[in-house]
Symmetry: C2
Subunit: 746 residues, 2 copies
């Protein structure tokens, strides 16, 4: 047992390696499946090429960014902005691994799509196996690379800053430095995530909206029709937005929750068998367990017959991994954490002693907080599904309001989106309250870590959706027989549901992660409160609350602009290339791909800079407390705008889809091409950038701003607030007046 | 001078009386103008009757509410919830005067409308005079009644609680009680405002949307066509929503800013010639001056020739009143406030001495804060106008995006609305920062009071708009000659601009008022910070941020439901009453009026209860600090949602209106009935509830929740937080463990 205690820190990357090996096996399996023939291979080739073209273009910009930001970080480490030039190394590692995970996931997703189509010619069971295995590669890749990266870097920094420099292996002030530097890893990962999410979101919706507006509405050809020049860009978009974007988002959340919990764990006075660092190691161990049990859970995702429920198979796998991880976590907590109560906060000035009046909790409290995190994640997914699912009240209300036209459909969707914030916020607020109740701010962070433990599984389920969607697209474009399309539609329908629940999970994780980072920020900045009764902090809260609005506005209008460019290009091709409509001439797919690629790269810069630079300006100009107000404002408003936009978009989408099978409004049936259906298409088009661009971008925005703040936190001047300076002067002057008056009286 | 010092307190209601007398003179003048003949009188009669029918129905419900709430307040005064049963009297006075001001304003507005039409037969100058004088009645009535009511009640409570009970006339603990009880006046006013704004907002948009959907879209008859059964309801709506609703909103802000400044003024240690109560009297004196100079400014609103600019005349009057008030305020501040520095906060436990480390400022600081308030109000109006005006970039971008259909029009409008939050929030944040910088939280409150000083003038300009709009409607319905309609259109166009700037002013005033109330709440609750680093306070912030979303959702869907009922009724009348289309049969206007009336009364209850009850539950269950977090969340999110919705709606409206004169998109001209115009109508319909129901309701929501909190503030238990209780137990247990361990070791 002692041996295990001593070497636990080295076990952590091993968990990650196991994940990577499992991923490699699954990737190899997918690759060797039959890719079909003729048109299928050609079309899949276009999609894969388009996806890689986007990645190459994105990487080109991002490599500049990473080099410049890395140099700035290295330089800042020699000044007062960050702790050490070494932070640049963590940053580059985080950025590289996040990008690499995205690359691997997308590479396999663009192979799995056509292989799923081919498998669907045989059976639903086979098609599910190929598409879900494709998704698993993304999930395992993200989780595996994150754990290997973070775990290894932690070992290096721990050995260097703590063991090597201080000659002791216990938690102390040196550990703070190690974690400061480690924060760069999360910063790198989250920066890439921003560009992947925002850029990918703009790409996919510019292509989608553009393809629909001309193809479906003007030319009257179905979605995914091979004659539509934008159809390849649309299918590429599913991969770069829903696979790579979502992967980068969760990679970022996964790393950030671990990091924030570690930072807060350092502030705990713990008498454990690991030199007091058990609370720091715990989140990484839990993540490792979650990864292992995600591999186990994935084995349960299978069906036998054509009539078996795909959703049930996915649910079984998901629940297996969650329950097993929770049980294992219980024993790990019992083993790693000591029996006496923990105290938060350590007082480094007093040699790491307990600070007076500090918070107290027990290891059972820590476990209960993890349970709270799991419950929050599950409830958020369920609520999201309710608000966006077909046949439930919210979507039905939009369908009913489609009967009086475009405007009432929009009003209905906006109202549903706004209403849908209520339950998630109550769940989240109760989660914050509960996890804090059980284990203080460490509890809030470890709740997030618990929720994120099975990220590999969540992401596998998420990535399965767009693969199935692509598979259906390829089947449609290759004009395969009805039964093939029927099977891929079955998978695609399940994929729509998992996309909705996945979004709920992603928002919940981003919210809890931001709160954990927020708590870590306050601890590292060394401030005692963030008092919104102070006018400058309140002003910060207002400005913070506004940022998600301008960020959303930028994302939405970027999609609008890019979609209009796409519309014009498609119209041009229909006009100038004769024979497209008769399948005689091939449209110039690559031109549409290029439009989406260029637009997304160009338009992701402005929102990205807002997220990166605002905390730095506010932090250094007004001090950490105002920055804290800003972060709180961004987080609250970002979570609300994220839920509002994602759910409104999801509900509009399914209201439109409901018309495919026919909708009963006031005793009359309406189908596709009816007036209410046209109104519902308007809603869906408005919802597209909501649910796939601006909505999910909120996740990254709130996390990135928090992580930037955490990185600069140790170096903010606590007493810099200009208002306070003026006050001090006035106080002094008024004192002088009083003295003079007293003199006169005397 | 000593005499003036002693009797200043009695002068305050006199200012209000002067306003009321001026109002009576102007009301009499409007009444004796020529009301025209035939159809005009009949139609105006329908509108006046409809408006009164709504008021009667609303008052019936409100009188129940006032009686029940008054009894609850009286009872609560005998328990621990509020300070004294006397608060019920203030509450009833505030509710009654607010309702009475609304009644007077609407009574005259429904007379001024037809008289404006008649005057427009002669000249534009005459038409402006009638319509603006009608608006002035509303402005002077609101300001006059508010000052008379608040000023008189203050005299009574001051005499009773301070002079009579303590036998001294100086500021002391007794003053706190007097102001606690006075807060009921503001609570009453704001409660009525909530129902007037929300109910009025639902009324006007249900009628407007319903009338447009069937009349313009289905039957193809123009707006304000006498054949449309919903047209009278539509015109009534302008009065109950834009006149009475806006009036009640500003009545509430006006009273609440004064009250909040008085409450904060009590915490100042001031060595003035008024027994230390100069900071308490100051906001009422400033309001009185503003009222007098509004009367002066109104005299400058006139034109001579048909080609003179109406907008310039309004601007001249507005600027006259603002500048004169500012100059007068400078001298009043110099006269009333002492020369030595003020200290905030008094320490009642030390006999009203200066609390250690309390904030310091000077009388020049107070004046500078007032200037900040004036600047904030002006900038907010200018920014709002930019984002909603024809021919400016935001509206032009929506017009351009109308060319690709309904969906892109909606996306464009939503993006404009979101983007439009940036500058107002920066102005507001700078305003908070600046006014605090000059005079602490008293500065924030007095800035609001300064901004609200010329409420009478602002409201006169605001109420002029719907009167002109109605006048145009009556001209159209009576089929008067082209030139009459031309003159009323001229006034109406100016009215649209003033409506936009008025909304900017109303939001700014609501935001600053809420902040002032928030500051007063914290002072009265006796807490030192509102620390969002505490998990429960942060949870409160999240829940608070969510409330404007559900409130908006309820308002929007109420309009949607009521509009659909209206659509069905109009369709029924067209179907069942033969001859309507040929002007042979009169539609049943009163049925449509009844639908709007019933719907608005029914639907205003749920949002109203949310606003009233949430602070009480949170305050008593979780303590004042969590309630503070909730209020901050509501205020930030409410201001953002208010600006977003109001400006999006305004921009959509003017994008649609732009098509009347033709819009140039990509080198081609588009007019009414073109495809882009149809898309713009969709945007306008979506924008209707945004800009006239849910958007402006945010103002009331944030103010009402703050005022409810202020009323219950003195009675909240500071240490009630359940989490803190658990912590104390754990602390104790952990202490015991440590003691036992120490024993063992020993």
């Amino acid at each position: 047992m002692d041996l295990l205690n001593n070497y636990l820190i080295y076990l952590i990357p091993v968990f990650g390696l196991i994940g990577i090996i499992a991923m490699a096996i699954k990737a190899a399996w997918v690759t060797k499946q039959d890719a079909g023939d003729g048109d299928m291979v050609t079309l899949a080739g276009y999609i894969a090429d388009g996806a890689m073209a986007f990645l190459r273009a994105e990487w080109k910009v991002l490599s500049y960014f990473v080099v410049v930001a890395g140099l700035l970080l290295a330089w800042s480490g020699t000044t007062v902005v960050t702790s050490s030039p070494v932070i640049a190394i963590s940053f580059v590692c985080g950025a590289f691994l996040s990008a690499f995970a995205g690359f691997l996931g997308m590479r396999i997703a663009t192979k799995a799509n056509v292989r799923t189509t081919q498998a669907a010619r045989t059976s639903l069971a086979k098609a599910l196996k190929v598409s879900f295995t494709g998704g698993t590669v993304m999930g395992l890749g993200v989780a595996g690379l994150a754990i290997v990266g973070l775990g290894s870097l932690f070992i290096v920094f721990y050995q260097y800053y703590v063991v090597h420099v201080t000659g002791s292996s216990v938690n102390g002030e040196a550990m703070a430095k190690a974690l400061d530097v480690l924060a760069g890893f999360s910063l790198g990962a989250e920066s890439i995530a921003l560009f992947a999410r925002v850029g990918g979101g703009i790409y996919t919706k510019a292509a989608d909206v553009g393809a629909d507006l001309v193809g479906k509405v003007e030319a009257g050809i179905p979605e995914d029709d091979v004659r539509n020049p934008a159809t390849i860009a649309d299918n590429v978009g599913d991969n770069v937005g829903d696979v790579a974007g979502m992967g980068a988002d969760l990679f970022g959340s996964y790393v950030a929750t671990m990091l924030a919990t570690m930072v807060l764990g350092r502030e705990i006075v713990s008498h454990d068998a690991f030199g007091g660092i058990a609370p720091i190691l715990l989140p990484m161990v839990i993540a490792g367990l979650g990864l292992i049990f995600s591999i186990v859970g994935a084995a349960f995702v299978k069906i036998k017959n054509e009539t078996d429920s795909v959703q049930k198979a996915l649910n079984l796998g998901n629940w297996m991994s969650i329950v097993l991880t929770a049980v294992a976590t219980y024993f790990v907590v019992q083993w790693m954490l000591p029996n006496d109560a923990f105290h938060m906060v350590r007082d480094e000035d007093a040699g790491g002693a307990i600070k007076a009046g500090s918070l107290v909790f027990t290891k059972n409290g820590v476990f209960m907080s993890i349970v709270v995190g799991l419950v929050v994640g599950t409830l958020m997914s369920i609520i999201t599904e309710y608000y966006t699912a077909m046949g439930k009240r919210p979507v039905l209300s939009i369908i009913r309001q489609s009967s009086t036209g475009h405007a009432t459909n929009i009003i209905g969707g906006l109202a549903v989106g706004m209403e849908s914030t209520v339950l998630p916020i109550l769940v989240l607020a109760s989660g914050i309250y509960g996890s804090y109740h059980f284990a203080g701010l460490y509890g809030v962070a470890i709740a997030a870590a618990g929720m994120m433990a099975t990220t590999a599984m969540q992401l596998a389920i998420d990535a399965f959706g767009p693969i199935a969607d692509n598979a259906g697209g390829i089947a449609e474009m290759s004009r395969l027989p009805e039964e093939v399309r029927h099977r891929t539609d079955n998978l695609d329908a399940v994929g729509n549901t998992t996309a909705a629940t996945g979004k709920g999970f992603a928002i919940a994780s981003a919210a809890l992660t931001s709160l954990a980072l927020f708590a870590a920020f306050v601890g590292v900045a060394g401030i005692e409160h963030i008092d919104i009764y102070k006018a400058d902090v309140l002003a910060g809260l207002f400005v913070g609350g506004m940022i998600p609005f301008i960020f959303s506005a930028l994302c939405i209008s970027a999609v609008g602009r890019a979609a209009m460019a796409m519309v014009e290009e498609v119209r041009r091709q229909f006009r100038e290339i004769p024979g497209i409509m008769e399948y005689k001439a091939k449209p110039e797919y690559e031109k549409c791909v290029a439009i989406s690629t260029k637009a997304s790269i160009r338009e992701m810069v402005a929102p990205g800079l807002i997220a990166l630079i605002t905390p730095i300006i506010i932090g250094f100009a007004f001090g950490p407390e105002v920055l804290g107000g800003l972060l709180a404002g961004v987080t609250v408003s970002g979570v609300l705008m994220g839920i509002f936009q994602s759910n409104a978009g999801g509900a509009w989408d399914n209201a439109k889809k409901s018309f495919e099978k026919g909708c009963l409004i006031n005793g009359e049936m309406y189908y596709k091409k009816s007036e209410p259906h046209k109104a519902s298409v308007t809603g869906d088009t408005v919802g597209d950038p909501f649910k796939d661009t601006s909505g999910p971008s909120m996740n990254i925005l709130i996390k990135l701003m928090s992580i930037v703040s955490l990185v600069i936190a140790p170096h903010l001047h606590k007493d810099v607030s200009p208002t306070e300076r003026v006050q001090n002067e006035l106080q002094q002057k008024s004192h002088i007046t009083h003295v003079i008056k007293a003199d006169k009286k005397a």
